[in-house]
Symmetry: C5
Subunit: 368 residues, 5 copies
């Protein structure tokens, strides 16, 4: 039960995570309100072109301004942890981010979306992955795409971007020959790829549940269906708007995203559609499982009732007969006839057999 509860709690936390932290009263829009438990920011830089690769952790935010000015190559600045407001404010200045844009990135959670600003694109997405205990972890990632940089922001440590990093480190990889837009695509694709293991895990659970319910419907099964529905709802809320967001990026006429990368984004779009299709199918399957469960339960109650009814219907009349001849009337002639007792036993046996035949005919005995 405990593991069930943990699972359940995870589902719940997912769903209720859309808990907006309001800026302090009187604050102007654009006020940054990072989560109180967000760790101190760690900033990692990957800077590359076809021939060179620079990868390191940045200690002083101010450095970034210099890097951006140098101009050549693509820079990926990856910021994890919002625990220091000064750093965030500094980032806003260096990249010249619109107050609403940085607010959307910091004041999580936001609905996934793509927004087009004058000097950059903002793509807000929700990353999911399986945690240590196969629970679903979910976090908002904000991707700022500029001419020669990609800036990613997330609240907690840990991401699903290692495949992207490995591809950058391979000097012969296509990613090294392309611009910041291709990097942004690779990151978005990695986020969407991260949904598949989660969806598969839910599919496996549904499959196990299906077999468990076919075998024996239990209250625990019911709760697990509810938990899965819960989690599917949360996933759907995360995936659905990403279709629209990728579409916005694809459609926008702009210099920031090249036509070639737009073709790759179409692939992302297909993945988002496929993921939400699968989630919808699982939702319908879960609903069908619920019906199956309820009907199995009704079926079992029906069977319990049949056993009770058969037992009671056979023995209650017999007990009544025994009660009759247990009465103490002075004048009960049958009591004094020697064959009355065995005769009564035979009658009782015939009544019992009659009831059994009756129930067989009704199909309550001997057939399922």
């Amino acid at each position: 039960m405990t593991s069930l509860h943990r699972q359940f709690a995870v589902g719940a936390s997912h769903l209720f995570l859309q808990r907006k932290r309001n800026p302090p009263v009187g604050a102007r829009p654009g006020t940054l309100v990072p989560a109180p438990d967000s760790p101190p920011p760690v900033i990692r830089l990957m800077r590359y072109d076809a021939d060179h690769l620079e990868e390191r952790t940045i200690e002083d935010v101010g450095e970034i301004a210099g890097i951006l000015e140098r101009g050549e190559g693509v820079s990926w600045i990856d910021v994890q942890g919002f625990g220091d407001e000064a750093t965030l404010e500094r980032l806003r200045e260096i990249f010249d981010l619109h107050p609403l844009a940085i607010e959307d990135a910091i004041n999580t959670p936001q609905r996934p979306k793509a927004e087009i600003y004058e000097n950059f694109y903002l793509y807000i997405t929700r990353m999911v992955r399986l945690g240590e205990h196969r629970e679903i972890c979910s976090e908002q990632v904000s991707i700022f795409l500029g001419k020669s940089y990609v800036l990613t922001l997330q609240e907690q440590y840990g991401d699903v971007f290692d495949p992207v990093r490995k591809r950058i480190r391979q000097s012969e990889g296509m990613i090294r020959k392309r611009g910041a837009d291709y990097l942004a695509y690779a990151i978005i694709d990695a986020v969407l790829d991260g949904y598949y293991p989660v969806i598969e895990m839910l599919g496996d659970r549904l499959h196990e549940l299906e077999e468990a319910i076919l075998e024996r419907p239990s209250p625990a099964g019911m709760r697990r269906i509810h938990t899965i529905r819960h989690e599917l709802l949360a996933l759907r809320r995360a995936v659905w708007p990403q279709r629209e967001a990728v579409n916005t990026l694809m459609r926008e006429e702009s210099d920031l995203v090249s036509p070639i990368v737009r073709q790759y984004l179409r692939d992302c779009y297909d993945h988002a559609v496929q993921a939400s299709d699968t989630i919808e199918t699982f939702r319908e399957l879960a609903a069908s499982l619920m019906d199956l469960y309820l009907s199995s339960l009704s079926q079992r109650t029906n069977e319990v009732m049949k056993v009770l009814t058969i037992m009671a219907s056979i023995f209650i009349p017999l007990t009544f007969l025994a009660g009759i001849y247990g009465m103490n009337f002075d004048y009960m002639p049958a009591l004094h006839i020697w064959w009355a007792y065995p005769a009564l036993l035979v009658v009782m046996f015939l009544i019992a057999m009659g009831m059994v035949v009756f129930f067989r005919l009704k199909g309550w005995i001997g057939r399922s």
Copy 2:
């Protein structure tokens, strides 16, 4: 139970509040029909530009005409209470409001909407907040946006605009440097921000209910689910049309709303979408909880039936046997054999054990 009933009543009043007060028979359109329990109007003025701030209560409506004529700065005239028709009529004249516009503002409730008139915009919205007992209070606010003024009208005292007022009072705030359109945006944003605590409260209640039902399904739980559904329906009706209304403001080509403020309105739009998304998710969750509740109930009925069936199936046959040997026939040989009594007891014990084994095999005893 009483607190439940109060809660419930609140939900109901919300839902049924769309009770249109028809103008008296024979009245032309544009007739004002304020609610009979509306208190006398209190008019507050905030008038500001980057350097000055004037904040006071206006006793004589006529004064406003003079203020509007002076021209410079932004004036926020906030009218609460419709208890005096003469005042309302006077306001209509001063601001030169279209009869249908003022009718929509006074004859509450209306569906949230934005309407474009020649000399002003009318934005009708529904403000919600948590009352003293954490019940949901809801009220219509009508926002008239003109060149240099914002006029807000509401039926009862009390609002969610204090953050806006505080920002105006801070001389360095951005709001002081911008026009009436930004003020209107700030007010609309404050209304939408007001939905979050209410939605969160419902989320918390759903979460508690979920745990309560997992622990022990009770009729009170069922009623609470119904109440929450009720309230979610009411919230949905309030939020949904606001998406469309904000959209109308954003799209309209006009001098009254500057491009910069339109970008801010996009943020409002996102908030409205996020709020309605969350409400939809809660509605599905509530439906799933209902299923969980019903299945728990079926499960429990099933268990009750099992206990009954087991008790009855074990003891009814035994009682019958005891009844047999309680009969008063003269010729019952078994009665006179000394080991018959202990033998019968043993037989009875074996029958009882047989039934227990049978029920164990069926899984009714010893497994959940």
Copy 3:
């Protein structure tokens, strides 16, 4: 029960009223087939301009041609009752109505719609009002709008237009200063206003039902939910297409409807949307009530079962024990020990107490 049945029957008649009367076989389209129970036509004229008002009943249909020719002012010809085909045919000729248009008006019921013909507009709507016993009465009204006239046709006597007539009689009313299009608007508005009392009545009934079911679920409650759903379905069918119909009038570029009246029609549109919103909400509420009802019923069955199980589980074993010592074996040593009887009573008491404690632990006694 009788009042329930009457109510129910009303709901049913509403729903099935879409019973098309086919023209006799072989008839060409445009054949008029008035309802057989339609009373003889009564024709009322209101003819007015800003200064004059003429109001009377027209006995001879031919008169109308003359009135229309006179040209000045606005004429409202209100025809109630289709009991005389010659009159209807004469009307068609005088107003030069397209065969399909007059057919739609006479061969009720039609789906509400607006149709644009060359020389007139046809607006078909469905009027509802509460009858004497607070049952819902519904009837089709067809509004023909020409340059200087409005022709309204309905099958039975009785309408919701008295407020419009009163406004016409007031010489200072706005309606007197405007054209036929404003009159048509006023009539359409009166029809839509007529939905509010009906919707409110259903809202009140839902509210009562809600409280009744919270108190005690009864089969009558179930039937009343069904009846309300029935009526909401009928109302929805009537309101929904009116949105589209008003929209058609608003959008159509034409001389017949002036821009000012189009603004007023926008208000009608809002009312139609608000009405259908409320109906949808009520439908969802009714569905939620159904769930509440069913769960209450399950809860009650569960409670009944518990009482039975507790009674049976306590007394069946005790009765068995009593049965044991009621047997007539010669050798039952316990029967002859003086303390056996009280001891047995004590044992029985302990068993009963044990069962009570068991059921308390299971939560079946002493908690709800």
Copy 4:
């Protein structure tokens, strides 16, 4: 039960009739595969203009070519029965039909649709009517509309076009003065008019069912609801695409359909919309009836349980008491006190009364 089964089977055959007969393997598209049970074709000609009418059965298909060449007037060639492939092939040649068009007409069933070919329009529709036993019969009718002819094809004998034929026979009818497009309209209209009696019949059955379930829910009622749902599904599938099909005809800019006939087609469109509206409403009503049925059943089970619980709760404790004093202990002092027996009877009576009062308080006795 038999009539129910027949009814049911009819519903099923309807639904599963979308059983596509595939052309033999290796056949090119355009291969004709008429139903094996289709009778030999009967070809009827109606050829008319304002003054003349020729009506006869055509024995030799080749004749038609000559008729078409003559040019003047409108020819309606009505082919019923596909039992002879040579005839069909000949028709294809004479009318110069596209292979896909004739394939759609012959290889029934197809989804209703309108298709625009170069030299003709193809309108595929589904005709329904009530059979002898008031069962629903349904068949595909394909209407080819050319410049001066209408060709209708259907698989079995029997149609709903007699009203159209009668109108053609009346020399003064409008249909005689108009072209082939008006004839096609008249046929489409007759098909749509044919839905009304069927819909009405289902409405009547729903109404009867409603009353039957209010009176006494029976398993037969449940099956009848299922059958009606079945039939409504089939009707919906037939009507829904006809809206789109009529719309295609109305929208298409072409010489084949004159503007006047387009106005008449708008009327057809309204009828199709009205029919599908009614079907949707009936579907919702049937779903509500299902709920009503299930809740009635639960209610009845609840009542049965109450009777059992009341009987058992009153008599089981009393029987136990009787059992106590039926024991054979030597030392049972109460047995020898003369007033013990009447006292016990009084106690038993009091206990029984106590239980009755308890159940009255719980509302199980004396209230519904």
Copy 5:
């Protein structure tokens, strides 16, 4: 039960087959990841024009380049089995396929879609057919359409294209006279035709289930409904996107698909719509069957309860009476009256009859 389980498992495997095989970590997009159990590729060539036909198996992939260069005629290269990556890579080079295109074809499963590349079209579809045990087999087929070739790729051996091959072999067939676009159409059409037998099989199963449930609702029936729902979900996911995909092909302005073939594709579109319509109808029918099943179950539980209640209500009071006169009080005057015993029997008989009459009046006996 075993056949049921196999059936069920098949349904499940269908649904969960959307299990994406991710490329190895660090791989660039375009990495091919064929299923590990895919057999070695078998490549078949059909090359034809109106006069010639060449049909053979290709052993060496390199050969294809030469064939394509020769230019005249249409070549169909059919690749089944992805078990050799080198072959796949070689194919990519020969046909100059975009990395994303070949990735979509190899890394199954993908959602059905049509994609327009510069030098070819990619049409991904899902082929279904009935296996040996009438289970549903499903596989992805990717169709590349170039100027003079069609390349089809699928993971496992076996397809539904034999009718197409037969038509190519017939020298007089239309397919021999047309280009590669017509061949692609014929293949797409064959895939869609393959859905009909599967849909029909499900329709037959639903029909059988319907009759089985009307006869006797069993838990196996419930599971079969669930399985069918499962399979319908899977089919829907496969068919639905094909409508969109065919539409993309039809709409695209391009040289690759001629206008004549576009007309044929319209026919494919109609088939896809018809198939998804039927699937939707079956889904609703399955839902209605579920209701029917549950209500039958409730009905049966109700009947079981009635039998129990009737038996218990008749005999429990009688047993109590017998218990009374079985007590051993010294002073029970009735015991010594000679007519008391027969009188009691008469009273018991009357009570039993009274109960029977009571239950008849309630309709529990003698009516269903």
